[in-house]
């Protein structure tokens, strides 16, 4: 299926950009006429994915994070967050609740939140080359909404 709309933005892995990424995704999603809860779920999932890049992908350096947003005809929003950082050696382990290598400041719940707030979550990572997180969320069509 081909996307009917797409937007892409790249930014440095500075924590100040977490808010920027959330807002960019929420603005793009606005064309789906989502409810406030749906927008908040999108903002939260994007925040988790981008924070992972900033904390884990580029632990001692700054690198580029790319956020790609796609809209499909069935009212599905696809969010892809990509980095060229250190990668995740064991994705399955990283996805376990409470698992973190981030120390006491991190809860280890990022992937759990992404999973529970999105319909689908796919994580592909190559150690030394980077990680791609792809999430999908279908937004319910609302009665009376413009097509």
């Amino acid at each position: 299926m081909k996307p009917i709309n797409e937007a892409m933005v790249s930014f440095l892995s500075r924590s100040a950009n977490e808010g920027f990424a959330r807002t960019a995704a929420a603005s793009f999603a606005a064309q789906l006429d989502p409810t406030l809860d749906e927008v908040n779920d999108i903002r939260t999932a994007v925040s988790e994915a981008v924070t992972n890049c900033i904390v884990h992908a580029y632990p001692d350096s700054l690198g580029l994070v790319t956020l790609r947003l796609r809209l499909y005809g069935d009212n599905t929003l696809e969010i892809q967050v990509k980095d060229k950082g250190v990668g995740i050696p064991d994705v399955e382990q990283a996805r376990q609740p409470m698992y973190t290598t981030g120390g006491a400041d991190r809860s280890g719940m990022g992937f759990t939140i992404m999973e529970s707030f999105m319909d689908k979550l796919r994580v592909r990572s190559t150690p030394g080359r980077g990680t791609v997180v792809t999430m999908r969320r279908r937004i319910a069509r609302r009665a009376g909404a413009a097509g």
Binding site: S15, D37, R43, I54, R106, S107
Partner: protein, 101 residues
Amino acid sequence: MAITCRTEDRSLYAAIEGELDHHRAREILAELDRQLDLELPRRLTLDLGGVSFMDSSGIAVLLRAYHRMNGLGGRLRVIHVPQQADRVLRAAGLDRLMELE
């Protein structure tokens, strides 16, 4: 400051404001730890009424508060939890660990 604290009769009240994400969690955690070390309270009330956004960084803050209060033999109350933060905290199962009001 993203966190405002006041103490009365060994009860520490801490109000968190704004977006509680990774970018701001470190400052909040540091100030919370500083206040807990200073006051050694019997009760800690975390007021989340002013939180406009929270992600899993907020879970780490609440877990820290919970464990620190357990260590002090005191009680933690979390009040005025906004809807968005509530969804995040429940997805992480924090409602089974502490009362979210």
